[in-house]
C-alpha cells in the first residue's frame, strides 16, 4: 500500500487535530491502571471518613451524610476537618493524577511524537485539560458513591434540599475543568521537574493559599473568583447563582490557563 508519492499538504481542521489528540489521551487514560486506582481512591477515602465518623464516640465530624459532598454553607476558613474534608478533595487526587499522566508524556518521550505532528501547541493544552477534567468528573462520581455507601454503613442522616445538593455536585463537576486546566498549566511550567509538578499540584489542590487568604480577609465572597473559592461556594445551600458562578469561574480560568500554557509551549522549548 504505497501511498507516499503525493506531496500534497492539507491543513487539518481544528476539529480533526483535537480529535486525534483527544483520542490518544483517552486511549491512554483508559489503558492505564493509574486511572482506575485513582477512581478507587476517590471512592474509598470518603467511605472511610464517613464510616470513621460514625465510629467516633466523642467527636462527630458530620451529622448529615451529604456533608461529605459539601459543607452546609461556603466556609473558606476551616475550623475543623469536617468542614474541609468534602468533594473538594477530588481536586487534590486529580492534581496528583494529572501530574503523573502528563509527567509520563515527558518521561517516556512520547511528547516528541505529539509535538512533531501537532504544530499547534494549544491542541496539547486543550486535550490535556479536557481529558483531565473528565477523569476528575469521574472521580466526583466515585467519590459520591463511596460517600453514600459509607454514610449508609454509619447510619448518618440523608436529609437534604435535593436541588441544592444537585447544584453543589454539578458545581464541583463543572469546577473540574478549571482545576484540570490549572494542573495542565502547572505541569507545562514544571515539565522538566516531575517531582515539583506533583508537589505544586498537590499544594495548590489543597486550597491552602485560599484558606490562608481567608484567614486574613475573612469569609469574603471575593474569594469565589478563584478555583478553590468557587469550589467551596458549591455547598449544600447552593442555588442557581452558585451554578452560574462555578461555570463562569471555571471557564474563565480554563481559558486563561490554556492561553498561558499555549504561550509557554510556543515561546519555550517543549522539553
Amino acid at each position: 500500500m504505497a501511498q507516499t508519492h503525493e506531496l500534497k499538504f492539507e491543513n487539518p481542521s481544528f476539529a480533526k487535530r483535537i480529535k486525534g489528540m483527544l483520542g490518544v489521551d483517552f486511549y491512554r487514560l483508559f489503558h492505564t491502571p493509574m486511572y482506575y486506582i485513582f477512581l478507587a481512591i476517590a471512592a474509598i477515602i470518603p467511605a472511610m471518613i464517613v464510616s470513621m465518623t460514625g465510629a467516633d464516640g466523642g467527636q462527630t465530624m458530620y451529622t448529615n451524610v451529604w456533608n461529605i459532598v459539601a459543607a452546609d454553607s461556603p466556609r473558606y476558613i476551616v475550623h475543623n476537618i469536617g468542614e474541609y474534608a468534602n468533594m473538594n478533595m477530588v481536586f487534590i487526587f486529580g492534581g496528583i493524577m494529572v501530574s503523573i499522566f502528563i509527567g509520563h508524556d515527558y518521561r517516556s518521550g512520547y511528547v516528541k511524537q505529539l509535538f512533531t505532528t501537532h504544530a499547534k501547541k494549544r491542541d496539547y493544552m486543550i486535550s490535556k485539560s479536557l481529558v483531565s477534567a473528565f477523569s476528575m468528573a469521574c472521580m466526583c462520581v466515585t467519590y459520591l458513591i463511596g460517600g453514600v455507601v459509607g454514610g449508609m454503613i454509619s447510619g448518618l442522616s440523608f436529609e437534604v434540599n435535593i436541588s441544592s445538593l444537585l447544584i453543589a455536585i454539578l458545581g464541583k463537576v463543572v469546577m473540574s475543568l478549571g482545576w484540570a486546566s490549572l494542573y495542565t498549566f502547572l505541569n507545562v511550567i514544571f515539565r522538566r521537574y516531575f517531582g515539583i509538578s506533583v508537589a505544586a499540584s498537590f499544594f495548590i489542590g489543597t486550597g491552602i493559599p485560599i484558606i490562608g487568604a481567608a484567614a486574613i480577609i475573612g469569609n469574603n465572597s471575593l474569594l469565589n473568583v478563584f478555583l478553590y473559592g468557587s469550589s467551596v461556594y458549591a455547598c449544600l445551600s447552593s442555588n442557581i447563582v452558585t451554578m452560574l458562578v462555578c461555570a463562569v469561574v471555571s471557564v474563565a480560568w480554563t481559558v486563561i490557563y490554556n492561553l498561558l500554557g499555549s504561550l509557554v509551549l510556543s515561546r519555550c522549548d517543549v522539553y
Partner: protein
C-alpha cells in the same frame, strides 16, 4: 522544491550556540546523511525542524512551507534520541496511540503495514520495555512511518545495532525512500553505513554547516591514491616525495595521493632500485573525507 530549507538558523543554550547561523538544503526524495562529531548540533537542528525547540533566529521551511504549518508537520515522522514509547504498553498499543494521534482511518491496517516494513509483525504483542535495542529502534522507525510521512527525521537510528541490525535498518531505509518516496534526514556516526545509503551529505561542526554535497559530488571530490610497500620503505618514501606533491606514510603504507598510475609508479621505483612488494589503487571514502575535512578546519 526542497524537503528542508534552512537559512541562518541559530539556537543557543545559556549563551552558547548549539546551532550557529546554519544553512541546510535537503532535496525531495534524498537520503540526507547529517554528519558531525558529538555536540556539533545535529540533534539540536533536528529538534528545531520538528518544532521541539524554539530557534533564536533564522527560517525553516519544509516543502516550501513554514515549519510551523500544521499541514506539513502532520506529514513529518521523527525518531529523535529515543523512540518515545510507553514502556509498559505493548508495541501494538504504542503504535495504536500514534495512529489515533494522526487521525488515521484504517489504524489496524496501517499498524500491520509498518510492522511488516520494519519486520516486527511477530512482536506486536510484546511490551515495549521487553524489546531489545534493535527492536526499539525499528519500532521507532515504524512509529515515524505511520500515516503518510513525506519527511523522516532519524537521529542516530543505527547506533548500538549489531551488524545484522545495521544491515536490516539499511534495507528498511532504502525501501521506504524507493517505495514510499519519503525524504530521509538521518544523522549517524557510523559513516561507513551512511555511505552505503545516503544520496546527499551535510557536514556540521560547532553548529555551522561546513559543507553540503551530494554522493556524486563526494565521488568526484574523493581523492584517489596509490598505496604501496617496498623493501626499503624509508628510502622509497624520500624518493617519492621528491617526485609527487602529496606523499604520506600511513597505516604501514606509502600513500601517493591523486595518482592512480600504478604501472608508472612501479616502473619508476624499479628503475631506482626500490623493488615493489605490494601496490594497489584506492579511493578515500566518506570517513576519510570527513576526517580530512575536519583536520583542515582545525588547522
Amino acid at each position: 522544491m526542497n524537503a528542508i530549507e534552512i537559512r541562518g538558523l541559530s539556537k543557543s543554550f545559556r549563551g552558547l550556540y548549539a546551532v550557529d547561523n546554519l544553512n541546510m538544503t535537503v532535496p525531495v526524495g534524498a537520503i540526507y546523511g547529517f554528519i558531525g562529531e558529538n555536540g556539533s548540533g545535529k540533534s539540536t537542528t533536528e529538534k528545531l525542524i520538528c518544532g521541539h525547540l524554539v530557534p533564536d533566529k533564522g527560517s525553516i521551511k519544509l516543502f516550501d512551507r513554514p515549519y510551523t504549518d500544521a499541514g506539513v508537520r502532520v506529514r513529518v515522522g521523527a525518531l529523535i534520541e529515543n523512540t518515545g514509547c510507553f514502556p509498559n504498553s505493548s508495541v501494538w498499543d504504542n503504535l495504536m496511540m500514534q495512529a489515533i494521534n494522526l487521525g488515521l482511518s484504517d489504524r489496524a491496517g496501517e499498524i500491520d503495514r509498518v510492522l511488516r516494513i520494519v519486520r516486527m509483525e511477530d512482536n506486536a504483542k510484546l511490551k515495549f520495555k521487553k524489546c531489545s535495542l534493535g527492536m526499539k529502534q525499528r519500532i521507532g522507525i515504524a512509529m515515524a512511518l505511520l500515516g503518510d510521512p513525506a519527511l523522516l527525521i532519524l537521529d542516530e537510528p543505527i547506533n548500538g545495532l549489531d551488524a545484522d541490525g545495521m544491515r536490516m535498518m539499511r534495507e528498511i531505509l532504502v525501501d521506504i525512500t524507493q517505495q514510499y518516496g519519503c525524504t530521509v534526514l538521518i544523522s549517524s556516526h557510523i559513516l561507513g553505513e551512511l555511505e552505503k545509503i545516503a544520496t546527499h551529505y551535510g557536514i556540521i561542526r560547532q553548529g555551522k554547516m561546513i559543507q553540503e554535497l551530494s554522493a556524486k559530488d563526494l565521488e568526484g571530490r574523493a581523492k584517489v591514491f596509490t598505496s604501496l610497500k617496498t623493501q626499503n620503505m624509508q628510502g622509497a618514501f624520500g624518493f617519492l616525495r621528491q617526485k609527487f606533491p602529496d606523499v604520506r606514510a600511513e597505516d604501514g603504507y606509502i600513500r601517493i595521493y591523486d595518482v592512480d598510475d600504478t604501472e608508472g609508479i612501479v616502473g619508476l621505483l624499479m628503475q631506482n632500485n626500490f623493488p615493489v612488494r605490494e601496490i594497489k589503487k584506492n579511493k578515500i571514502g566518506l570517513e576519510e573525507y570527513y576526517i580530512e575535512l575536519m583536520s583542515k578546519k582545525e588547522a
